[in-house]
Amino acid sequence: MKKIEAIIRSEKFMDVKEALEKRGFYGMTVTDVRGRGRQKGMQLQFRGRVMEIDLLPKVKIELVVTDEEVNDVITIISDYARTGNVGDGKIFIIPIEDVVRVRTGERGEKAI
């Protein structure tokens, strides 16, 4: 089992979520984060003085899936989160040793 951690643009989240849902990936955990990378921030003003913001709001989606599903999920997320501009985000694949469903105590793949 793997945990897929995708950091994407906030404004693409809804599309990604719907695409995942259509392919049967319903469970997920979402966090609001701020990130920076190649994307160089943006300019805001405060009382007429310009400033540079270098941490931009992003959404982090965490999905735990079986090993076989990993590539599917990666493809879906990449497809739907992409705009082609810097700042589209990253997907990290992290090994998961075990999963427990709190409600039933089930373990392993059937608990996902």
């Binding site: 003003q45 405060f46 009382r47 007429g48 003085r49 400033m51 913001i53 270098d54 931009l56």
Partner: protein
């Protein structure tokens, strides 16, 4: 309980005791020497006064409500970690100011002239509102002057926010309300020398320096004390980068700032028209219109300035612009026509933008822009009165002599106003420097850098303003790199 607190408390205990002892005799049970406490005599002598009392009091209520406006503007422009502290300062300056103005502020400001009627330096009667001051007319005026005094006091809190010790602010509130504000107030409104000394009256051509509702008395006094305080305190950590370039530190809630601006604008209709102290002065209608037009013209000007400069209209500066226009029209509101009000407002819009940026570029970290809004535009208010007064209204009353300015052929009065503006600056800035210098040398005026970084809510009040919210400074403003002009 820290030693500092202990000392503050003991001090306050002693002062309070002294006050009560002083008060006791004057408060004696027999009302023999009191004024017209019931109001029956006053009403009989002036059967038309009920509407003037109602007008003055209601306008005073509106001015009192400006405290909420200031609190919101300042809190909106502060960071989350200082919200409770800024709010508390705004509450407490009104609280302490009310008591200080009762004990002595009013007596100094509106009491009988000393040393002489011709050359009033300070007032000397009406302490504790006791004795003769237990009188309905005196009380009405006390209330109206109090809310003005509290306005002057509260201006400083926003400028110096996010770094001073709370205990220092408590003491500052008492001193400005008891002494600094009342003395300049006396000179202008209490029959003191600026308005009434023979040489001033001669220079002005029948009247000395004037200030209808307090561009100078209230706003510039507050603004220049704020300037002194900002200098004595130094800028907030992180306000300037290694090269000394200012970095914007955005406030945490722009909605509060705009709401506060609306409340202040609303309250200003008490501030300016109310300053006739009488609804029989039908000029109140003209005053209301001028007030509104100047605020609007200045807000529009500030908006367009930022729009042209950065390509987008800035919300915070538009708020500052509105307030700047309102400050500027406060002195001339009763004496100019609507066209002049618009011009005064447009100029105010320029002054507040460039004034604020100038100070920021020169190391003055004024969180809300109070020096530019209240100080510079307060001065502009005094001067513009000297320029635009159009001869359609008298000296705080319909009756003549009617006040005229430079444009209407009275350069002497213009000079009076310049003198008044200079004295105003010297007095406020000087007193401010002295007060904060003494406090700095004795108790220290600034929290430690660690406390400042953690925020004054936790370190000064052991509280958190929004405990159920995730608040962050990681996105803004901690990750701001170098502001650009």
């Amino acid at each position: 309980m820290s030693e500092r607190v202990r000392r503050a408390v003991i001090l306050i205990a002693i002062v309070s005791l002294l006050l009560l002892v002083t008060a006791a005799p004057t408060l004696a049970i027999s009302p023999l020497m009191q004024g017209d406490a019931t109001g029956a005599k006053t009403l009989k002598e002036h059967p038309g006064w009920p509407v003037d009392f109602a007008w003055t009091l209601i306008c005073g209520f509106l001015v009192m409500f400006m405290q909420a406006g200031f609190a919101l503007v300042e809190t909106g422009f502060a960071r989350t970690k200082n919200v409770a502290n800024v709010m508390m300062k705004n509450l407490i300056d009104y609280v302490i100011g009310s008591l200080a103005f009762w004990v002595m502020g009013y007596a100094i400001m509106m009491g009988a002239n000393w040393p002489s009627d011709n050359l009033g330096i300070i007032g000397t009667t009406g302490w504790f509102l006791a004795g003769k001051a237990y009188d309905v007319s005196t009380m009405a005026i006390w209330f109206f002057e109090l809310v003005f005094c509290a306005t002057a006091a509260t201006i400083v809190s926003g400028a110096i926010a996010e770094r001073p010790k709370f205990s220092v602010y408590v003491i500052y509130s008492a001193v400005i309300s008891a002494i600094i504000y009342p003395i300049y107030g006396h000179w202008l409104w209490g029959g003191g020398w600026l308005s009434s000394a023979p040489f001033m009256v001669k220079l002005g051509g029948g009247y000395g320096a004037l200030d209808f509702a307090g561009s100078g008395v209230v706003h510039a006094i507050g603004g220049y004390i704020a300037l002194a305080a900002c200098i004595m305190l130094g800028p907030r950590i992180g306000k300037y980068d290694e090269n000394g370039n200012p970095r914007p530190i955005p406030g945490h809630n722009i909605a509060y700032a705009v709401l506060g601006t609306f409340i202040l604008w609303f309250g200003w209709f008490g501030f300016n028209p109310g300053s006739t102290l009488s609804a029989h002065e039908l000029r109140i209608a003209v005053i209301a219109v001028n007030t509104n037009l100047a605020g609007a013209a200045a807000a529009a000007t500030a908006m367009f300035i930022t729009w042209v400069k950065n390509g987008k209209p800035d919300v915070g500066m538009t708020c500052n612009g509105a307030l700047a226009g309102l400050v500027a029209i406060t002195a001339p509101c009763a004496w100019v026509n609507s066209w002049a009000a618009v011009v005064i407002g447009i100029v105010a819009g320029f002054i507040v933008c460039y004034g604020y940026w100038f100070l920021e570029n020169h190391g003055i970290d004024d969180m809300v822009g109070a020096v530019a809004v209240h100080g510079f535009n307060g001065t502009w208010g005094l001067i513009s009165l000297g320029i635009f007064a159009d001869g359609t209204y008298g000296v705080y009353t319909t009756a003549g002599p009617h006040v005229t300015g430079l444009l209407y052929g009275n350069p002497g009065f213009f000079l009076c106003q310049l003198i008044s503006a200079a004295v105003n600056f010297a007095w406020a800035f000087g007193c401010g420097l002295i007060l904060f210098w003494i406090l700095k040398k004795t108790m220290g005026i600034r929290v430690s850098p660690e406390e400042e970084i953690i925020g004054l809510d936790i370190t000064e009040h052991a509280t958190v303003a929004y405990p159920n919210f995730v608040c962050t400074e990681t996105g803004l403003p901690f990750s701001i790199r170098g502001g650009k002009e």
